[in-house]
């Protein structure tokens, strides 16, 4: 039995690695993905291109503009003198925010009336716009607070101040709030899923499509051995990719790895059971490589999008949240991020690992029983 599986393994490896381009894909694609996610994928908002339309041009209005500039978030790109120019800049996307202060801003502030600050943001990118609004609110409130304190001291005598809350915020697990620390460990999960899913499903179907599966069936190999032979090599490739992505993440991007590597590999093994199981299932329902590929993507897209990799699960509608419990990626992401960022161990991650094991066994069993029928 082991002899036959060994030969099957050798045959699969020869087939996968025969084409140098394929070798490249298997090892270059993961690295590319880590690089893209490490460098490009960020929702941090900085250097917001801002135009200033200052109709007041007083000490107070200039001070407010200076506050925006000093905050480090806003880049004042132009002082404009008409509404049309504002429209043009926003239309062209050259500015994403326009600060406008009407005549009388400074006078109102001095007289103790409310001075109004107008802000127009480009809402096209709702995420960036939300953050811009947030920063602006903060800056205006700060100025408000300063003015109030001056007024307060004027009324009450020189040393007294009103009470205030001083927020000391600390971010745990990711002190500098680096996007890459969040995304790079997640790439492990999506790369492994894509590679193993595609390789398994297409490898089996290719034999069907070209007709070599009949040659396989006349050999003494049993269905169980055939399944093992078709999954083990891709599991090994999956492991190699995990190591590759981890090495690039840790040594190139300096992503911290707080938890145990051993636990990561063990969880990967559980996770691979689920992805290989799905790959095999797809191969049993597909007749051609094209069908296999389309089916793989039909599963892959929702699996990635509904995993919490990019979009928090808590933001999804409740019905969809329930659906995510069937998604192995969801559990593996919690495990990977837990190990990398939080350094937690099995005492916290056991429910996710258990879910992975259960899903993996169920999927493999389902695939194997269907597989036997399609072979027979």
């Amino acid at each position: 039995m082991f002899e036959r599986i060994k030969h099957m393994l050798i045959k699969e490896f020869i087939q996968v690695f025969r084409d140098p381009k394929m070798r490249g894909i298997i090892f270059v694609m993961p690295v590319l993905q880590v690089l893209v996610f490490g460098y490009a994928v960020t929702l941090d908002v900085k250097n917001i291109a801002t135009a200033v339309y200052d109709l007041d041009n007083s000490v107070a209005s200039r001070e407010l503009v200076a506050r925006f500039e000093r905050s480090g978030y806003f880049d004042i790109i132009e002082h404009i003198h008409s509404e049309e120019r504002a429209r043009e800049l926003l239309d062209r996307g050259e500015a994403s925010a326009v600060i406008q202060m009407n005549r009388g801003f400074g006078d109102a502030l001095r007289a103790g009336r409310t001075a109004e600050l107008q802000l127009i943001v480009d809402g096209t990118d709702s995420n960036t716009a939300g953050v811009v609004l947030d920063y602006s609110t903060k800056i205006t409130k700060e100025l408000s607070q300063k003015v109030l304190i001056t007024r307060f001291t004027r009324v009450k005598g020189s040393f007294e101040k009103p009470g205030r809350v001083e927020l000391e915020t600390r971010a745990w697990f990711n002190d500098n709030l680096e996007s890459r620390n969040f995304y790079v460990p997640g790439v492990i999960a999506i790369v492994v899923m894509l590679i193993t899913l595609m390789l398994t499903s297409m490898a089996v179907v290719r034999e069907k499509e070209i007709g070599t599966i009949e040659q396989m069936m006349v050999t003494p190999i049993t269905p169980a051995e055939f399944i093992l032979g078709k999954t083990l090599p891709f599991a090994l490739i999956g492991f190699a990719d995990v190591v590759l992505v981890t090495v690039v993440g840790v040594f190139w991007f300096g992503v911290p790895i707080q938890g145990s590597l051993l636990l990561l590999f063990f969880a990967t093994a559980l996770y691979l059971m689920t992805t290989l199981g799905i790959g095999l299932l797809i191969s049993t329902v597909s007749g051609t490589q094209q069908q296999a590929m389309m089916s793989a993507f039909f599963f892959y897209f929702p699996a990635v999008l509904l995993s919490g990799f990019m979009f928090p699960i808590a933001n999804m509608p409740e019905a969809i949240q329930w659906l995510t419990y069937l998604n192995p990626l969801r559990y593996f992401l919690v495990v990977v991020r837990g190990i990398f960022l939080k350094g937690v161990g099995p005492e916290i991650l056991w429910p996710e690992m258990l879910a992975l094991a259960a899903l993996g066994l169920a999927l493999l069993w389902l695939a194997a029983s269907r597989f036997r029928k399609t072979l027979a």
Partner: protein, 377 residues
Amino acid sequence: MKPFRVLAIARKESIHILRDPRSLGMAIAIPMLLLLLFGYALSLDVDNVPTVVWDQSASHESREFISRFDGSRYFSIIGHVHSYPEVEREIDSGQALVALVIPTDFAGRIEAGRPAPVQAIVDGSDPNTATIAMGYLDVVAFSYSQDVALREIRRATGQVVDPPVDLRARAWFNADLESKNYIIPGLIAVIMMVIAALLTSLTIAREWEQGTMEQLIATPVRGNELILGKLLPYFAIGMIDVALAVLMGEFLFDVPLRGSVALLFAMAAIFLAGALSLGMVISILTRGQLLASQLAMVLTFLPSFLLSGFMYAIANMPVPIQAITHLVPASYFVTMLKGIYLKGVGLQILAMEAILLVAFGLTLVLLANRKFRKKLV
């Protein structure tokens, strides 16, 4: 080039496509699935951040402070804790994303006019959510402090005081800042790239792999006729997908379409021709279906998803990466789609993008024709 030979190839390819209804069905279903997911299920908006409170002060003031968090739609207080280990456990397990620790002397300090330090611990593992939550925390704290100051001044002077500066913010183009209005237009570009990646990348590779290419070579059909004939049916599928996406955006998701529909479809056709030709070039170069599909993923889908500005704004990326995005044709199309949809602008503003898209389309159509050799080996 003879039109009847192009049509004959197109007919042959259509029969191939129709014979496999499942692949065709998925070529329509995958885009719709993506649209539904992005339209209904996925959102980057942060609200109802689960928050725990450790209120050591347990005073009227501290309760008022906490009620401001409960009252905002950004936070939802899920529980009270009474020690640091408890805080740690809630954050470690992901039950809570924010923990507020209010000191014992909170009320006294507020009354005495001294700063009252409140600790906010935020789970930073998801930096996007964390940054936004921290921004909201600041805003709530500032509002509270401002109200305390206003109250004190009123008490001292006996007159009602208004807040000194008021921010009146308006968002143009997408007044309610709905993320679906931002995502759906750009998604059209991604969908077209997916179609190109999934469908065309296989078509020539399959002929080689199954040996039917030899039969095609034996016919009088020319290289460019073969390429064009094979592109036509996929072009039709792609345009159906675009039409479906536009219709769904209009009737299902109420995404405002403010610009010219004709311009939208014209640019979509040009972009699609380029994307399909890219898939074709991949198929010609690889000659194997597995490899072709993997390569198509790397070259078409990933860049158009991540580097086009579809979801992650290009302006926020590091400068070298911004330079790379100029090489991603989808980035021009995404800019155009958002401009046409949300801003309602036309060619006078989008001219540069349009020219580059036409250049992309032409280059790849020509490249596909050049690269294809009607020869064995």
